[in-house]
Structure formats: C-alpha cells, structure tokens
Symmetry: none
Amino acid sequence: MKGISFNTWAYSSFPAWVPSYPLEEVIKRLAYFGYDGIEIGCASPHAWPEYLSNNRRSEILKLLKTNNLDVAAMLPAPGGGPGMNTASPLAEERKYTINHYKDVIRLAHDWECPTVIYIAGWIVYGSNQTDAWHYSLEAIKEIGEFAQKMGVTMAIEPTASDSNLIESADDALLLSEQAELDNVKVMFDTFHALYRNEVSSDYVYKMQDKLQHIHLADSDRLPPGEGECDFPSVLKALKDVNYDGYLSMEVGFHKREAEPDWYARKSIEYLRAELGK
Amino acid sequence: MKGISFNTWAYSSFPAWVPSYPLEEVIKRLAYFGYDGIEIGCASPHAWPEYLSNNRRSEILKLLKTNNLDVAAMLPAPGGGPGMNTASPLAEERKYTINHYKDVIRLAHDWECPTVIYIAGWIVYGSNQTDAWHYSLEAIKEIGEFAQKMGVTMAIEPTASDSNLIESADDALLLSEQAELDNVKVMFDTFHALYRNEVSSDYVYKMQDKLQHIHLADSDRLPPGEGECDFPSVLKALKDVNYDGYLSMEVGFHKREAEPDWYARKSIEYLRAELGK
Amino acid sequence: MKGISFNTWAYSSFPAWVPSYPLEEVIKRLAYFGYDGIEIGCASPHAWPEYLSNNRRSEILKLLKTNNLDVAAMLPAPGGGPGMNTASPLAEERKYTINHYKDVIRLAHDWECPTVIYIAGWIVYGSNQTDAWHYSLEAIKEIGEFAQKMGVTMAIEPTASDSNLIESADDALLLSEQAELDNVKVMFDTFHALYRNEVSSDYVYKMQDKLQHIHLADSDRLPPGEGECDFPSVLKALKDVNYDGYLSMEVGFHKREAEPDWYARKSIEYLRAELGK
Amino acid sequence: MKGISFNTWAYSSFPAWVPSYPLEEVIKRLAYFGYDGIEIGCASPHAWPEYLSNNRRSEILKLLKTNNLDVAAMLPAPGGGPGMNTASPLAEERKYTINHYKDVIRLAHDWECPTVIYIAGWIVYGSNQTDAWHYSLEAIKEIGEFAQKMGVTMAIEPTASDSNLIESADDALLLSEQAELDNVKVMFDTFHALYRNEVSSDYVYKMQDKLQHIHLADSDRLPPGEGECDFPSVLKALKDVNYDGYLSMEVGFHKREAEPDWYARKSIEYLRAELGK
C-alpha cells in the first residue's frame, strides 16, 4: 500500500459550516499525526478551485512537500449550492459540474495527486434511471478524457447512503466498463457498504482488478476500530489482492460535535496497530 | 400575518443529496397542502441562479401565480462547495459570496419576493471574531445597498447551531444597527433559539421593532407541535407585537429519512389549528 | 383547594444560571396562563431579600394584585454559595441560614404569603444524623416562633433526592411533632416520593392532619401528566382528605433545555382537565 | 506546568446538596491521590468567606502546607441564592457580587493562591447584551484593581454551557483587553468548548498570550480520557505555548450519582500516563 491518508471534510465546512480550518493548518496537523497522505475535498475553506491563485497553489505544494505529505485523492462536494449532479435533468447543471470536475483535475495535476473521485450523481424526481445513467456516463467520458491528458485516474464511487444511482459495487463496475477508458476505475467506502448491510471485504475481492482507492470509515462515520465494521477482514482482503493505493479515512465530518483531531489520531493509531500485527 | 410558508430545503438536495424534487413540483405540492407562501433555498435543483434563464424565471413566476403561492423569502445555501462565508478570511470567497447574494436578490426581484435572508458567516480557525464581524458587516452593507435598489429587505438570522459569529438575538440586532440601512432587518429561527436553550417568544419581543421574518421548527427540526418548543407562546408573542410577515417552516431537511410531504402536511395542520383557537 | 400555583425556579437562575426572568415578568406570564398562585423561590433574580427595597416590595405586591395572583408559598434556595444548611456542623452557617429564613418570612409577610417551606438540611461528612437532626430541630423551633409572630406557617419538606436527613413522610412528621408549634406543619413533593419509589397518594393520607402544601412534579421534573406518576390518584386522595391548600408545580428547573412556558402551560392544562372530570 | 489540581465542587454542595465533605477532608484526600494543587470553590461547606474566621484560615493554610498542596485557583459559585451575576440589571446584585469577589480575593491572598476565576455573568430577560457587557466590564475593572493590590490575577472564563454573555475564546479575550489591567487574563474549560462543539487545543493557541489557567473535563464532566475530547492535542498545545499554570480538573460535580474519589483518581491516573509519554 502507498500509505495512510485522511480526508479533509472533518476539518472543513462541508456539510456542517464549522469547524473550519484552513488547508495549511490541516496539512500540518495530519503530518504531525503521522499520515502519509491527505485527501482533499474541493470545497471552501480548503480547495474551491476559483479561490486558489497560481501563487497560492505553489505555496501549498511547497508546504505539502515540507511536511512529507502526498495528496492521495481529491473530490468535489456534491449536494451544496450548485448541486454538482452529473445526472441532473438540467443541462446547465451538467455543464457546470463537468467544468468543475475539470477544475478539480487541474488542481490535482498542480498538486501531483494521482486520483480524483467521481460521484456519479442522483436521480431527480421526474427523471428516470435510464436518463440519469446516460447523463452520468456522458459526463464521466468527457471528464475521463480530460483527466487522461492530465495524467489523473478517475475512481467511480458507489454512494448508496447519499444517492440513488450508483449504489453498489456492480453499478460502479458497470459504469466504469461503459466509459471505455483505462483511467476510469472504481473505489468504495466501507460506510456506504455498511449502509447497504454489505460486507466490505467482499467489495475488495469483487472490485480488485479496478480498485484504485478506498475510504475507511466505521459505523456512524467513526474512526476504524470504534464501531462495528470488521476491519481486520478488509485489511486482509486488501493484502490478498495486492492493493497498492492509499487507505483513506473519510470520518467525523457528519456532525458538528465531532472533534477532528480525535478522529485523525484514533484512526491512525488503530490502523498502525492492525497493520503491524 | 401574511400567511404560512414552507422552505424548499426538505424537497431539495441540501445538505443531503436526496430526495430531490424540481421547483415546479414543490410549488404544486405546497399549494395543494394550502400554503400561502414558499420560501426558496437558492441551491440546485431549485434555484441556483446561474441555471435559471430569463425564460424559465418567467415560467416559474407564472406557475406561482396560477397556484396562488407567493415567494415569502429566499436565501443562499452556506457551507457547500463555494462556502458562501461573508466572514471568510479569503478575499476571493467574500467577493464570490457578495456577488452570489446579488444574484439571489435579482432572483427575488424577478419572483416578487420581499425578503432575502442574510447568513452572517462564521469564524475560520486562525482568524478572530473582530475581523470576522468586520468582514460580515462590510458585506451586509454592500449587499443591503444593492437590495435597497431592488426593493428587497435583508433579514439577518442568528445561526447558533451551525456557526460561531451571529448566534443570539442581540448579535443580529447589533449587526443590523451597524449596517445603518432601513432595509437591513432581522429574523430568527426557533430551532436555533432551542439550540441555545433560549425561549423563542423572548426573541419575538426582543426583535419586535426589526422583525422581518420568522422560521418555525420544533426540536430536532420536527414540524411545530411535534417537539417541545412552546409554539402557543410564540404565536401569542407575534400577535402581541403585530408581526405582519410570514410564518415560515424550515423543517425536515436535516436527514435523509425525513419525508417532505409529512413535514409539510403536519406543519400546516398544527398551525391552522392553533391560529384558529 | 385554594387553586393552582407555579414555582418560579423554572424562570430563574437556580441551579442553572439561565434562563433568567425578572419576577415582574414571571408574575405576568403565570397570570396569563391562568394560575391562581405563584410560589416564589427566594434567590436572585426573583427574590433575594437583600436586593428588595421596601419600595420594590410594595410595587411587586401591587403587581400581584393587579394580576389576581396570590403568593402560594416561598422558600430559600439551598445548596448554593452560602449553603443554607440548618443541619450544618458550622455554627456560622446555621446562624446565617436561620437569619435568612427570617428574611424570607418577613418577605412572605410583606407579600401576604401564608406558607414558607422548610428544607431541613443535610448531613455533612464527619458529622452524624443525631447531631444534624438536633441542629435542624433547634433551627425550625427558632424559625417557627418567628414565623408565628408574623402569621406565617412553616411546612417541612422531605427532600430525598437532594439530601440525606429528612427523606420520608415519617421523618417530616416526626420533626414537625418535635418542634411543638402549631404553625410548623408538613408538605411533600411528588418528585421526591418518586425518587424513593414511593406512592404519592400514600403520602397524602399519611400526612393529612398536617398537610399544609404540596408540590406536583412528574418523573424527570416534567409537567404532571407527561411522565409516569399517577396524578388522578393524588388528586382523589387530596379530595378525600379535604386538602385546602394550593396545588403547586415545581417543574422544569432541573436542566437548561427546559422552556418554562411549555412547563407552565402543559401543567395547568393537564390539571384543569383532570379537576374538571 | 505547575502541576495537577482538582476542583472541590465534586466534594461539596454545589449545585447538588450532597455529597458534602469539609474542606479539611478534601485536602487530605487530594494529597493522598497525589495532586499538586487544589482549586477551591468558595461555597459552603468549603469556603464561604463569611464562615471562615482568621483562626480557621490559618489552620487550613497550615494543613495545606503539611499536605504539600498549593491552592491553584479559587472561584465563587454563581447561580445560587445571591445570584452573583456581575451583569445583572439589579444594582444591588452587582454591588453584592463585586464585594463577594473582594472577599474571595482576600481569601486567595490568605491562602497564597495566585488566581481567581472571573465568571462574567449572564443576560437577564429584559436587559440586552450591550448593557450586560458594560456592567460586567465595570465589575472586572473594579475587581481587577483590588486583586492587583492583593497580588492576585483574575482569569476570565467563557461559560457557554451555563450562560449567555461570555461564551467563546474571543469573547473572553475581548473583555480582558477592555479591562486594561495586566492582572486580568483569561482561562477556559474544555467542557465549555465541547458544549460549543469547538476544539480545545484551538483555544490554547488562541488564548496563549493571556492563558492563566485551564479546566480539564471530558464530555459529560467525566475525568479526562473517559469521553471524546482529544486530550493529547490539548496537552501538546499547552506544551507548544509553554503554558506554566495548573492543569485543573473540574469534573464530577454535575450530578449526585458522581462519586468524587472515582473522578479524582481516574483524572490523575490518566494525566500522569499521558504526560509521561
């Protein structure tokens, strides 16, 4: 594996408004806890592309290198103001979202990040699954081609707990095949598997040929080891399939009460201990 | 009072992605339940200004009139991708957010809506209360002047449960006074008062001279009457101070499990019964 | 019965600091809800005797009369800064507390209140029950004699959930007999009976000859009818023994989340309905 | 750091009436558990100034020295009978409270205690934030000047969970600046930071230049390490800013069920282990 990474949502204003730490601060904290990578949610106050001048991008890259922290992955924030639904029946929203993905990919390129996560959207009332799927496939094709030129791999994520289009491992694999691009792969999040009452280690074996990335989160978005997901099985499965990406925590961002440092510290302590066994 | 209104968040993709109903559908449903007004959250899929051509704006206005539904108030969606924090230490974010407010005010003007809600932002780690307050005051002054020209009144909302800058009735009143504009008033949400363990009817009396709008939500964002907020006191206080705005429900948008029609129906049933006593 | 009364703790800063309403405001609210009496906790901001000039006492009496509200009972606030433990091993504290009771009795006299509640204190580590009982008996004798001259009746309350000296109906009755004064009687609070898993209607029959006052509170200090105490039995027992005092609510003061108006309204609605049956 | 200290509330009658241990007993127990300091709540039965003769003050100082226990800090008990609200609209209460603070400062002087905590009061219904802030500022100025002559430093504490005036780090810092006295500094309590869903280590950095004292308490007033506050981050932050005060536990006083010895023992065990890492 490439190492252990932590997603910035817990330190940002998505979807709760607070707490809200600047990206520079988050980089320093994650490095202090011993993380190898950072996964960056491209929302304010961290990385809304329009707010990041070339100058500031360079400074942040420098800071990342000083702190020995790689950018493990990046992703947009769906569900907020502009929606960011590539499966929307609104042509304006689809276009805006595709352009936003391109901005995120440019930013990934600038920060030497190999992977951008693709959230395939959701079915709005009045439209149907066939249309929504079609729109999302068109989008991932256009986005994927752009990403290919920038040297970035897209990872389609099933998001059962938040949406209604790409919900399972099979959904993600099918969309990925239909995209017909080498750099369009898949990933999954243990939390979404738990939401479907499915077994995360099964996802690893099923997705193994295309598994680009993984999100670890225990039940209720707790740090791994604090809830009821069987992480030893997940880690064994990842070893079995020679997974060579990051173990990325996406935890503690779902409620204001969550103290980000507690999540960051507990997660890495648990994983280090398990991996060292 | 002008009547009873219902906020669209419960029918939209903020902050959860689903359920997601087009604005046209929400208009029809609220009219069917007997609402007098609709409060529109300016996020996709309902009303992200950039996605709304002049043509579509006219059609929606026509639909509102056919359904006898007034637009009671409008507001942006803070906390998502672009942040929308007028108190942000990032100059880029402040500028973007002020422009977005102007877009929302233009839309309010197009849909004959008298009131736009002002969310005063939040303190990002590393900045302090004094700076954040100053930025937000500068913003509401610029936004308020623009709104004045468009015939729109701004209503500053204390948002204790989501933020850390304007938390109480006193905070909102003070910012409003400092703005020194006749069309910059205040509002409050019973849910935020409950979060502070404060009494909503007290807010009515305290804010009475500048009370432009009100959000009703019971504990846990339930419909009024389903939790432990004393709504009869709130309604009596509003009568005492001759409140002449809308009673606007902002309920049921905080979790995916919430079924919007249940919230819309229960809310109006309870209020009609109480107002008829 | 004399009527229904409501204790001010829920509107004051004891033991939580907020919410905090001036006495004048509480008088108006209780009158509005239709209460016949008010029970006044003699703590700030309502009635710390030292803060009440003769002038202000007269104004408050006038306000009470304008609002047709009798003062049903008064009591000090034990447990705070000066302790107010008549069973304390500290001579200084016993003396201070006795003097404070005299101040409260003077205030009761000024406001035409017939009853002052006597909290018999608690055993401090290192002293024993015999000494504590003795101290408290000495205190109630001195206080009772003073009260007699002022035309006030003392009502000894068993306070099992907060103390360790006078816990049961029998404890209170014994202390009352030993005081050997006609104006030293007893009372009880359904909440303390519930704390001991005892039956409130049993207390009524046991205390009937000396029952001067009663506190009604459901489990968790909820309004009567919202918890698990059988109030119809209590009301029947009070009728059986021809109780002629007040039904006084002591509810909703135990946590900051409690909204006083909700407790005041729910309590009187329930009791009116039950008494009308 | 100066060492580890434990607040007496858990052993006293505030705000619950029991358990209730004399100060002498608490001193012996804390020394036995290995504490370096004791923080004394100035309420009965421990240290209501009026109950403490010069003779008894000397004896207690002797006992403290015999047990090698320093008095880390002292504070009054707000919210009980006399209120102790320096922001009260009642002139009588403000005067009483200021005098009480002077008594507490004299006692601190007698017991060689460097720090007295300032609770800035709360807004009573009918008054507003501006007036309440003004009253509290006047009070801390007068108290601070008196303390300066006695060689005592005042530490303003934000008390979000109990009040509504000084709630955040920024509030406390602003009041401290406005006091314009070198011996008026700030402190914070992790429990109040948790109540605001804020991060305690952030408070350390924000307050660092004026941080005189700190209260440690985990969620639900548990001993550090028993809840969900990230204490390793707090300890690291205190080290980063070269904090040289006490780590003072304010735990286990919020409910009668809490057994004080368990809180005292668990707290020091956890902190010793963490500090030794």
